[in-house]
Amino acid sequence: MTLPDEGRLRRRRRRLVAIAFAFPALALNLLVIAGPAVSSLYYAWTDWNGFSAPSFTGLDNARRLIEDATFWNALGHNLIWLVLFLTVPMAMGLVGAFMLSRVRRGASLFRVIFFIPYVIASVVNAQIWKSLLDPATGIAAQLDRIGITWLNDVYFFGDSNLSLYSVAFVDNWHFWGFLVVLFLAAMQSVDPSLFEAARIDGAGPFREFWHITLPGIRATLMFALMIISLGALLAFDYSFALTAGGPAGSSDLVSLLVNRTAFTALEPGYASFMALVISLLGGVLLVIFHFIRRNEDTR
């Protein structure tokens, strides 16, 4: 059956209008994200310096990366970061949300207080903790006034044994409240009759949490684990604002290294290769999560 001519014309017109509506978003996306992303697939295998024409160098960047201690140092920090963020904020978020779900009065006030650090810019949060953890003007100085002196010589951001953990601590301070809100929303949609049944059976709060709350919010837990994992590979702000990766690379992260390699050392070709490696890691994580999710669904 063929459409009458006029109908076909009208249909084509409708399509053109639809494409016109979608065009600005799509064009911007191709220009800013997709285009550069695809081109970096090529630049990763060249000695491009950003200005002259890149020349293809095969596996040179890969060989260089394998022997590049600064890269492995930074990647190691990203993995520590990953482990820290998969545990500490998850635990704090779960505890906070579970407690919140059990109280009636003041719940929304607590929720707002927990969430405020998440709304504040990273540079501000960095400044807050820079001054709080400064030995001369922060917590240490206050403790010193009442005779506790063991914090006096601790330089949280200046000591290479502490810097990475101090930076992660500040990032976590800003992040965990977000998880509280995310988990709370999920907990509130767990079927309330399950809790009543558990109570009738005499379950205490811990067993309620373990057997009903946790399984009930599994989907959201998976989502949180996924965004944390991807975020840990991309972490930039706090390390940049607090220590710039220092001292002596002790809080360096891959994103800072990519940044320095591309724009300070002017080796965008090599930086693209690093970025490709870290993106592949992110892709692997996504695939793993995809399979876990599929297993859950078919159960």
Binding site: A37, V103, S122, V123, Q142, P205
Partner: protein, 315 residues
């Protein structure tokens, strides 16, 4: 039909049936569709004190540093040395005046206003039009478009930032707020399109049909019928995009370096690096930066939380 909120209710899946875990289902859940589940806090009274103790400790952990920031912004360097954490002895606005006038903070705020305004308008227009096309119009390859958007959302920034910088320098967009706005709009659009689309899908088609019968064209339908109903969704998108543009660091550090053009976030960073031990002064600058965002958040908590919770990857 006056309130748009009635339309955002997508059918609420019963919690018995296991949801497929997509970011969409998560954000539908967090987005607060449907009535809030009735309180299930009927747990024994004897358990709540423990909860309150823990919650209070957590609230102090989250809130005290912010209070101290405000306290210390009123202190001189001398007072800060004697009284590092306590209440300030007097409400001196000297630090604020100096940070605003002598530092780059006033200028940074103005640059941020331009940046945030441009990003919010650009994102709402681009994402709104695209979402409308996907939800209502005869767009070819809808499914492909949706998948494309999901891929772009999960694409790591490092994957494109390096070539983008050199592309921008060829286009003369480095050191330009406009160039940064274009980037922010592009970064915010994919997620915003998906969010707005779920919104638009909920608006009944009969409305378009009625308008069409009355002789409205495609443009008029979008502008006069759909847009007013989609306003709550656009507000959420605008808040997320605006807050993102206000506090974003990575792109603004790399793409704008001229002191006169620094937005608030990088201006503050530079200010703090130039005044390392003058914590009172830098704290005042930090409070100036925080105030607009926190006030807006306090006024529109629900929108903010819903939007940011559906937001996405942010370390």
């Amino acid at each position: 039909m006056t309130s748009g909120t009635t339309f955002k209710t997508t059918p609420r899946t019963n919690s018995k049936t296991t949801l497929r875990t997509t970011p969409r289902t998560i954000f539908r859940k967090t987005f607060g569709t449907g009535p809030r589940t009735t309180s299930r806090t009927s747990g024994g009274i004897q358990r709540t004190p423990v909860s309150y103790v823990v919650l209070t400790l957590l609230a102090l952990f989250a809130g005290l540093p912010l209070l101290i920031l405000v306290f210390n912004s009123f202190k001189s360097s001398l007072e800060l040395g004697q009284n590092p954490l306590g209440l300030p002895s007097s409400l001196e606005f000297g630090n604020y005046v100096e940070a605003w006038t002598r530092g780059s903070i006033g200028r940074g705020m103005w640059n941020s206003v331009v940046l945030v305004g441009g990003t919010v308008i650009g994102t709402c227009v681009c994402a709104g039009a695209c979402a409308y096309s996907m939800a209502r119009l005869d767009l070819p390859f809808k499914r492909g478009m949706e998948n494309y958007l999901f891929v772009v959302i999960s694409l790591p920034v490092q994957m494109f930032i390096v070539p983008l910088f050199f592309l921008w320098s060829n286009l003369n967009l480095i050191d330009s707020l406009f160039g940064l706005v274009v980037i922010y709009v592009a970064l915010n659009t994919p997620f915003s399109v998906l969010l707005l689309r779920t919104f638009l899908v909920g608006i009944p088609r009969e409305l378009d049909e009625a308008a069409r019968i009355d002789g409205a064209n495609e443009w008029q339908i979008a502008w006069r019928v759909i847009l007013p109903l989609a306003r709550p969704g656009l507000l959420t998108v605008g808040l997320v995009a605006g807050l993102g543009a206000y506090s974003e660091l990575l792109f603004s550090v790399i793409f704008v370096t001229t002191p006169e053009k620094l937005p608030m976030a990088t201006a503050l960073l530079q200010y703090s690096q130039g005044h390392t031990q003058l914590f009172g002064l830098v704290n005042a600058a930090a409070v100036i930066m925080t105030l607009p965002a926190v006030l807006l958040f306090l006024f529109m908590q629900r929108k903010f939380i819903a939007g940011l919770a559906s937001g996405g990857v942010k370390g």
